[in-house]
């Protein structure tokens, strides 16, 4: 599984918040490679830098030092347009809070990444978005606004949306953080299914040891350093 070009490579990534006296380095030289199809959990205590790392990987922020490569291509020199395009094409995001657009239906939310790309959505992209909604079990509810959906359903819509631009890597920051255990298990099972069926790589921040145990690989972050990184047998 570790063959070929990694979808994501971090080389000596450091990140500092603030300037001068208030400057604090929160990541102290992270080296990490994620390969296509790999399902990785990122665990660690609160404040260890997990979200910061995910935002850097998601090209929402630029690291103070070091390099981030997506599909083998360096990202440091890209301008906003280049970063936006890469974000749209190669990466999918799922956050703890679903962050759906309240003024749009579930289907329209799922279409958003396609619209960002092409400006307009054709019948083909609607069919694709419907297929995604059906894949997350919400085909019938495509016309509902986020406010008309339960927390678990909202998160499923967010997942369908993250998949809409056929990313190479899906980033999830505590995606089940505010869901009950049962719903969290469902969402996680959905992740694994997509991972299996589409060969999409996942990097999932989680606090839940039960969920971490169900990943291919667990990376542990403590105080801005990777202290453990081990692969484990896949549990069905």
């Amino acid at each position: 599984m570790a063959d070929g070009v990694p979808v994501l490579a971090l080389k000596g990534v450091r990140h500092t918040y603030g300037q001068g006296d208030t400057a604090t380095e929160v990541l102290h030289g992270i080296d990490l490679a994620v390969h296509p199809g790999e399902f990785t959990a990122l665990i660690g205590p609160s404040g260890s830098g997990k979200s910061t790392l995910l935002n850097l990987i998601g090209l929402l922020e630029q690291p103070t030092h070091g390099e981030i490569l997506i599909d083998g291509a360096p990202t440091a020199t890209l301008d906003d347009n280049g970063r936006s395009a890469l974000r749209n094409r190669a990466l999918g995001f799922v956050f703890q809070f679903h962050h759906l657009l309240p003024a749009f239906s579930a289907l329209e939310n799922v279409l958003m990444p396609t619209l960002v790309n092409g400006g307009r959505a054709g019948a083909g992209s609607v069919a694709e978005a419907m297929a995604l909604l059906e894949a997350v079990g919400l085909g019938d509810l495509h016309g509902r606004r986020p406010a008309q959906l339960s927390g678990g359903q909202q998160q499923r819509v967010a997942i369908a949306r993250a998949l809409a631009s056929r990313p190479r890597l899906l980033l999830a920051d505590e995606p089940t953080g505010n869901l009950d255990t049962h719903t969290a298990d469902d969402i996680f099972a959905l992740f694994r299914r997509i991972n299996r069926e589409q060969g999409l790589a996942f990097l999932v921040v989680t606090h839940d040891p039960r969920l971490a145990a169900r990943c291919d690989r667990v990376v542990q972050l403590v105080d801005g350093n990777i202290v453990a990184d081990h692969r484990q047998g896949q549990t069905p």
């Binding site: 990466l91 703890q96 958003m112 619209l115 949306r161």
Partner: protein, 415 residues
Amino acid sequence: MPAAPRAPRLPYDWLLALRFLREGRAQTLLILLGITLGVGVIVFLTALIDGLQQNIIARTLGVQPHVTVSAPDDRVRAAWPRTDAGTPLLSQASPRAQRLRSIPGWQQTATGIAALPGVRDVAAIVSGPASAVRGQAERQVALLGVVPGEYQRIVPLDSYLVEGNLRLQAGEAAVGTELARELGLRVGDRLRLQTATRDDVFIVAGLFTVGVREADERWVFVPRRSAQTLLELEGGATHIQVTVDDIFAATQVAESIGDRYDVKSESWMQVNRQLMTGLRSQSASSSIIRFFVLVSVAFGIASVLAVSVAQKQREIGILRAMGTRRTMVLRVFLIQGGVLGVAGSLLGALAGTGLALLFANLALNPDGTPVVPVMITPSLFVTAVLTATVTGLVAAALPARRAARLDPVEAIRNG
């Protein structure tokens, strides 16, 4: 199975912009109302002032030629513009010159002027001061010797006819109704006209009401030949009156006449200097009002959009995380400003027009013309809408820039 879902028809930026506007219904309606009121006030005010000004100009030009040509001044000719602080409305009909002089070679000059570009019609008249005497009563009048067929093309005297006719055959005169009233004259009565050296008796053949006091009180028309005799200007003409195609280009035509011939040549704008100054300052003050209304509309749009940007931080962050470019976010908010501008100004232009028309149709003079003349031109409409749209865009620029520069991480973290 519910109906098959459809793709949104709009491109991304428009889809977002319109949906955001719809989502913030109360704010959107509020700002629309603000723009509608602002543009409505502007359109109404402009229609009123334009109408008033057009009415004043039309009345002025109803009894005046566009360009008046007379013999050059005795003294060395002064260059335009003269320091004349404004002459009375009908100065060409009440000559100031003490010594009446004929325009040398006026026939050729008149023919030449008629052939100039932009000139419509030309009439040569003889005018000077005289007294009108009937019984004991005597009035100072302005004697106007004209050839009716020719003069009619400059001043539509026929349309002012109240009684009798204005053919001005030999021995006939036409007088204003005010003068007739003061002297107790009726059609068919005899009227003695005196100048410093001569006098003659005419039959009043026609009465007219121009609607301008000075004309109705003082004008006396006689055949040109009779005026030449009375004023001792045999074969002469004191003025060549000219109409032009474009009344606002009258000064250029007047200047080109002055350049070509040795005459004094003044446009209606130069003759009515005071009036023009008044109109201009009226326009200027209405421009200032319009400017401030626009500025307050702009502030309204800007503040509402700024609130909207603050409320939508999260959504903007998520859109950015999905790969929306900064420039696209910018566009989403610019479009909102533009849409508010267009919609508000269309509504406002309609409201302002409606109000102006209501005003014009409600208060009518006895003859059916509006007391308050209004002028609504397509250009006023287009200008109002364009200006408000541009204002909307400009006003949206600042909030839109803020939205585009929003840090997506910050926006998402605040979830």
